[in-house]
Amino acid sequence: MVDTISDPSDDALLDVEGLRKYFPIHAGLSRRVVANVRAVEDVSFAIPRGKTLSLVGESGCGKSTTSRAVMRALDVTGGSIRFRRQSGEVVDIAGLSRAQMKPLRSEIQMVFQDPFSSLNPRMTVADIIGEPLLVNGIDKRQDRVDRVAELMRRVGLPAQFMQRFPHAFSGGQRQRIGIARALALNPSLMVLDEPVSALDVSVQAQVLNLLLDLQDELALTYLFVAHDLSVVKHISDQVAVMYLGSIVELADTCALFDRPLHPYTEALLSAVPIPNPRKRSARVLLRGEVGSPIKPPPGCPFHPRCAYAQDRCRTEVPRLERTAEGRQVRCHRAHELDLSGVGSMERPV
């Protein structure tokens, strides 16, 4: 099944189409493949330069796998990942080998979720941030030190802490170190994999602000992966909602939050606790559990939990459709349903 949905606009930095990633399951003594986990199934999206697209969904929906496939941290099963290089050349990186990817690495960088495991505890901050510089040909030590100091200042860390080891820093500071490392090679695309979910509430806001500032100044393009819709609302230009490996809805942030077109988006939005005791909303509670990515339900993968499901949904897989406003939705009944979003209201405090 092929959906040609995105007409690759000229300013797209990243254009993913029909991306698939299966993980084989081995069993028995011979370790033969008995089934596949369809972690990512036909995912397409494009991110314009300087913009942020968020992938949201619940655990196991394939958002992290998608981001890692875009990074080519793993081999993809199918589809294309077209990336516009700083030279202007557009490369499909989906099929590139390890060696072929190497020159592109500097242009696509990543910030990890876990501020503890993402920094080598045995290296000083200077070595951690300086490593990408070193392996990419900045041989003079003083040059590296200068650049590391500049990067540290840029992310809000005092440069005199350069010789310290990661264990001397708090979670939020470590995440800044991770951001500085990602920035070291002047990437154009940053993949941010749940960069604030391991942080304390008060620190989370600092890091989000930093990311917004950096994007403004350096014209960075973000692929932001998160499960927290409040954070997503804050950082994104566009949001793609994933369920069981597929994108079920993709739209501009405000449009998606105000008027969702997919019943899953509606349920997801209504489940978010609102930090306002005067607005204890009635919820659309989902029944049951997420289906298995090994043997997804027939028809629309969401139908067993959908309040609006009809016979058609149980048999026919919905196609990703484009609406007039440039939104994309994968639901048979998208045009007839009137779903409610979060609306807007005054903040407390």
Partner: protein, 376 residues
């Protein structure tokens, strides 16, 4: 604005800032240092390896020189004063036959004083294997044939146990070291392959380890050791024994290496290094090896006792090192018989270093294992 990000932790006393810039080895050392038993074990191990280095110097008589009439002499304690004057000496032994049992019984003879001195002359050897000399730490003042000392007594062939113990320590502990080194090479190689490549080769190696671990080792070694030709030289036997006992140690080391490899492969910082454009070699050398060196050192330390026990056991059975080689196991062969021990308990003296060094290695290894991951 920037200043607010500085941790309060970072602005503390001098010791605190030391921690902030401490490398993993420093952190580990600080943690290891707190482990009193481990520190004691380390000193003991260091002491024993000093004995290994200076074995010939510490011995005072040729370990294989035997005198039938001096068989099973009891230890001679050193007397430091003679009539209130500092004059270290031992008392000579006179033997006579017990009229009832007809056994030779020895008693110290207060008339026969054998004066001792430091750096005495004795048999010739090469100091550190390089410098020919005949000086030893202690010995009788004159190199007269009848002036002999036996600090730990003599064995059934009338050989000096002290001197044999020094030489035996060298044999047993170097076999241990060589065996561990060999196991380590095997362990790192096979464990590394297993952890790095994964898949069927990992499966194969893991299953082989399982099979190896469920085979009773001693009968197998005995079989292998017995198969060594009788006419092999001491050196050949030594090498063969090393190979045989290292067949035990590698499985555990391989398991540690593989486990660390697999754990590290999943670490985000390894992926980050890859994304930064690091080569495979750099990732292994800069990110993975430093993270498990400490674990390997700890595992190696804990592998020593098994090596030493293996050598001692095999030699004790007469299947390991064979005379004229001297090792702890060879020395303990003399103590196989209960009657012999009952009459000459000093034959069991060589058991003491065996137990002490195994304890020391265990303590040291335990401390190392606890300190191996300072970020845990």
């Amino acid at each position: 604005m920037t200043a607010t990000y500085i941790e309060t932790v970072g602005d503390g006393s001098a010791t605190e800032s030391k921690v902030l810039v401490a490398s993993q080895w420093q952190l580990m050392w600080w943690r290891f240092r707190k482990h009193k038993l481990a520190m004691a074990g380390t000193f003991v191990v260091a002491f024993f390896y000093l004995v290994v280095i200076f074995a010939d110097f510490l011995a005072y008589s040729d370990p294989n020189a035997s005198e039938a009439y001096q068989a099973l002499l009891p230890p001679q304690p050193i007397h430091f004063f003679d009539d209130g004057v500092f004059a270290p000496h031992v008392l000579g032994m006179t033997g006579k036959r017990d009229p009832q049992t007809f056994k030779r019984v020895y008693a110290p003879d207060p008339e026969k004083k054998v004066p001792l001195r430091l750096f005495a002359e004795g048999y010739s050897y090469k100091f550190l294997g390089l410098i020919p000399t005949n000086r030893h730490l202690i010995g009788p003042v004159g190199a007269l044939a009848e002036d002999t000392i036996f600090l730990f007594g003599t064995d059934m062939q009338g050989r000096d146990i002290w001197s044999r113990l020094m030489i035996g320590t060298r044999t047993s502990l170097t076999i241990g070291l060589a065996g561990v080194t060999l196991s380590l090479l095997l362990g790192i190689l096979l464990g590394g392959i297993s952890g790095f490549y994964g898949g069927w080769i990992d499966n194969l190696i893991q299953r082989s380890i399982e099979v190896l671990k469920s085979i009773p080792t001693i009968p197998l070694w005995m079989g292998l050791a017995a198969a060594m030709p009788r006419d092999w030289t001491v050196v050949q036997v030594y090498l063969a024994i090393t190979v045989i006992i290292s067949l035990l140690g590698w499985t555990e080391l391989a398991r540690v290496v593989r486990g660390r490899f697999l754990a590290l492969r999943e670490e985000d910082f390894v992926m980050a290094a890859e994304l930064a454009g690091c080569s495979r070699a750099r990732i292994i050398a800069r990110h993975m090896l430093p993270a498990f060196m400490s674990h390997i050192i700890a595992a190696v330390t804990l592998a020593f006792p098994a090596m030493i026990i293996s050598e001692t056991s095999l030699s004790f059975l007469g299947l390991g090192m064979r005379p004229p080689a001297v090792s702890w196991g060879v020395l303990l062969q003399q103590a196989q018989n209960v009657q012999a021990i009952a009459i000459s308990p000093w034959l069991l003296i060589p058991a003491i270093p065996v137990i002490v060094i195994i304890l020391a290695f265990n303590f040291m290894g335990d401390g190392m294992r606890d300190a191996a991951d300072p970020y845990g």
